[in-house]
Amino acid sequence: MNLRHVTLIARKELRGLANERTIVFAVLLQLFIAMFSSFLMVGLATLYDPDAVAGFSGTRYAVGYTGTDSVLRELLEESRDFRVYPMDLSTAVAALKERKLNAVIWVPATPPDAVEPVKITLYTIQNDIQATVVNVKIKDVLLDYEEQLRDLRTDRLTMEPVAVAIPPSAGGENFYEFVFGLLIPLLVFMPAIISAALIIDLITEEYQHGTLETLMATPVTFGAMLWGKIAACLVLVPVQAAAWLLLLAANGIVVQNAVPILLHVTAGSLILILIGAFCALHYRERTSAQFIFSTGIVVVILLVLALPANPLNLIVRLAIGAIGAEHWIILAATAAAAVLLASLTHAYADRVGGMRNNRILQDQR
């Protein structure tokens, strides 16, 4: 196999991608997803954790307090988030409907240390973003109240949990985990999947458009053609993944250990690309090859995810810097698997390509 021919084919395929402007779509896609995920983060963080935005913190919400007087009323008044109006229930609910109040609470006459629980009724506005915010704020006050009631009834408990004083700021949604534990492994592995789909297109196109015979008439061998295409697809992966990491950094999400991450992604994507190439060589027809490949890839990804210390988990831990040098062992294992698969593919390509060449030769006779 001639290395010059391999690079020749690789460059031809990359030029083809550039010419068709399809690569523009890939870039657009990246930008699109980046903006979308930052919307998810920033937008929802402000929506569900109002304190995340300083502008919200000064707002006071109006609460109508109805029913029996209790400690809860004092707690609400002490909180800087609310302005409490003692009212009668019907008026308060009518005012709530007109948005003159943000919520209405009704408290029963149940004594705090009674056998039965204290059941309060909370009226909020349906289908409203602000009602959600008010709910989050009221929850804090109610948790305090629950704690007080529980203390009064503590001698009725038989066992208590190990006490840990969790700071009140600890609540809220874990966006860090969403970004680093889900989004980043997904994003860096997406180029790998795109490239694996691409290799199927590149190979089946030669068969279905009938251009393979022409190509085989040139000094380029079948093997050189195959590896040239694989190289073109593989080169795109670290480039795209690096672009992701840069975009994330521009969005203020700094990923640690970028170089090892790129190495892991490249090794993993070589395996995916080889599986794709295998399917394409076997079926020589896009629909079948893509169908089998995409079903197969789901099986592979599920199995990989079920293993501890899988490459995707390693990417998560590398990205947050929560892993030592042991990831190099996994990288070596992945690379070894890729090399094994590569030699298998090569042998298979020799068989398929050889047969094909023979047939062309026979046709010519």
Binding site: F39, M41, T91, L202, A322
Partner: protein, 603 residues
């Protein structure tokens, strides 16, 4: 009519037979095997758990009990150490829990670890408390949450006003309208302690990493009759992404086969044979699409039943299926190569998925969520259901865009279009060109402009999503520019396609009359769709919008005219190269007008 149906059925039979023979011997057995593997792998993954977020956080504690509890969460690497050793510490540790106190590292990871710990701890607390003999000592406070419908909501949020009340000191607010008597709520829970306990246990037993995603379809926390304070906060809205994977993804996957079938007709030129038959293009397309439509309906019905979801969710899925088929047809007809086909389809699926996913995040929170059919599915799964108007609102854009695309592709299902491979943009231009009539140019550009409206709405809603999170003045400016650019592109589309189709047609007087027709078509389409979709929100709003927009109708009309006139003049003077500068200039004028109107109204 009968002949048409039989032609469609014949082509459907061909299609099924052909895809079975190409896929037949080699693919189907392997596919069946892979399917078995898939089930096995799913079972394996369920049993072993998904190890994606393992070992993200490191925690040190002096409490053996706590160490045992937290070690069950694979996200934590827990080390047990004596209290003395903790004080000296060392090493990269996110959390230190000692003597009932907790300290988190002052990093993002430390804070995330604290949040994860707080959730684990809450589940542990719940577990301890629910095993108590006296449940009401452990859970002394219960909340009955009653949602109250406010009639003002859509109008208020539409106009960007502050939706909440502005609290004043002292005197309580007095309602302006009539006060209806509200019955005093009962002071006792009408459920037994055991029922409540089992609800609490069910909620606490969930492994948040898996069940949060797995249980979206079956159970829903808002079903709880009464809540404890810790159950009060709204659930994380990412759950609807599960619906995407369960319902939308298989549909997208199946539509790929249709896309490929169309592409194959072009690659091996088999469509030539089809075109020589007496069957008309519409019948060929319908016949080819029918097997896939049935397959997709069957798949979604199967998924619905398998997940125990209500069958009514098929209703919102139907327009989504048609939407996917329409785009599959379009992409299959315009792609030049397999590579282009792949990229176009990946791009389309991402955009469509986000369009479906984003608004449904706000299900139960805001009416805007209704623009996605997925929200209807969320509502149906929650047992709330939806009405005819909500259905119309959520699905009309999908019905309309699918119809327009099918019509466009039918008009172009000719030998000339199917077998010429040109650049993507010029292909699209040629597609639109052949849908327009040179004999009746005014009527056709009028209709074409009106037909672009659903696409424009979708694109603008998407822009809103994307630009939402930029810093404030910047997001508003880019949104104004982007929205104007989308509208100008949509208007220029038919004029430019017509001009390229028959260059002699575009004289200066023609430019003026065609521009007027486009502006009118655009305005009519815009207002009709806006009224149709807004009407369901509130009858009073409907009246207000209709009235006010009729008063100022000449303003947007002249604006649309000026926009298209600028683009048209640029193309007439400078030819093809002047299109983009013309569009940009028109967008600039358009957005200046818009910002003037918006600033004028708000200031």
């Amino acid at each position: 009519m009968h002949e048409a149906i039989s032609a469609i059925l014949t082509i459907s039979r061909w299609e099924v037979k052909r895809s079975l023979t190409t896929m037949g011997r080699n693919v189907l057995p392997l596919a069946a095997l892979l399917f078995v593997f898939l089930i096995l792998a799913t079972g394996f993954a369920q049993q072993r758990g998904v190890h994606l977020q393992d070992g993200m956080y490191a925690m040190v504690t002096d409490s053996p009990d706590l160490a045992a509890v937290i070690a069950e969460d694979p996200r934590f690497q827990v080390t047990l150490d004596s209290a003395d050793a903790l004080r000296t510490g060392g090493g990269p540790v996110d959390l230190v829990v000692a003597g009932g106190r907790i300290a988190a590292a002052d990093t993002d990871r430390g804070r995330a670890a604290l949040a994860a710990f707080a959730r684990d701890y809450a589940r542990y607390e719940t577990w301890v408390y629910t095993t108590q003999e006296d449940l009401f000592a452990a859970y002394p406070l219960w909340i009955d949450e009653i949602p109250v419908k406010s009639e003002l909501d859509f109008l208020a949020t539409q106009q960007g006003q502050a939706v909440g009340a502005v609290p004043r000191r002292g005197t309580p607010p007095v309602p302006e309208g009539s006060v209806e008597a509200v019955a005093t709520p009962s002071a006792s829970l009408d459920l037994s302690a055991d029922d409540l306990r089992s609800e609490l246990v069910a909620g606490a037993a969930e492994d948040p990493q898996v069940s949060r995603y797995a249980d979206v379809l079956s159970s829903d926390p808002s079903d709880l009759a009464f809540k404890t304070p810790s159950q009060l906060s709204p659930p994380l809205p990412f759950d609807s992404i599960v619906l995407i994977f369960v319902f939308i993804f298989p549909l997208y996957f199946t539509s790929q086969f249709f896309m490929m079938s169309i592409m194959n007709e072009r690659v091996d030129r088999k469509a030539e044979i089809l075109l020589t038959t007496p069957a008309r293009p519409a019948q060929i397309i319908a016949g080819k699409a029918l097997p896939y439509l049935i397959l997709m309906l069957a798949i979604s019905l199967l998924l619905t039943l398998a997940n125990g979801a209500p069958p009514a969710i098929m209703l919102p899925l139907l327009p989504v299926i048609l939407f996917f088929l329409a785009f599959a047809l379009f992409i299959g007809m315009v792609a030049r190569s397999f590579k282009e086909l792949s990229f176009l389809s990946i791009f389309f699926s991402t955009v469509a998925t986000s369009y479906l996913f984003f608004p449904s995040i706000f299900a139960n929170v805001h009416v805007i969520s209704l623009i996605s059919p997925l929200t209807l599915i969320v509502l149906q799964v929650q047992g709330e259901g939806f009405g005819a108007m909500e259905y119309l609102y959520a699905t009309s854009l999908f019905w309309l865009t699918s119809a327009v695309l099918f019509a466009l592709c039918t008009a172009n299902f000719t030998e000339e279009r199917l077998f010429t491979h040109t650049r993507l943009l010029s292909t699209v231009r040629a597609f639109i060109g052949s849908a327009l009539s040179t004999a009746r140019p005014h009527l056709s550009v009028f209709l074409a402009a009106a037909c672009t409206i659903p696409f424009v709405f979708m694109a603008q809603l998407m822009l809103l999503v994307l630009l939402f999170n930029l810093p404030m003045p910047f997001s508003l400016v880019t949104l104004l520019l982007g929205a104007a650019f989308v509208e100008e592109c949509a208007k220029a589309l038919s004029l430019y396609a017509l001009a390229r189709k028959s260059p002699g047609l575009l004289t200066w007087p023609r430019l003026a009359t065609l521009g007027a027709a486009i502006a009118l078509g655009f305005l009519v389409g815009e207002k009709t769709l806006l009224l149709a979709t807004l009407a369901q929100i509130s009858e009073s709003v409907f009246g207000a919008v209709l009235f006010s927009s009729l008063q100022v109708l000449w303003l947007p009309l002249s604006l649309h005219f000026i926009g298209i006139a600028i683009t048209g003049a640029a193309v007439k003077l400078g030819g093809r190269r002047a299109l983009l500068p013309g569009l940009l200039a028109a967008s600039l004028v358009h957005s200046l007008y818009n910002s003037f109107v918006i600033l004028g109204w708000s200031g």
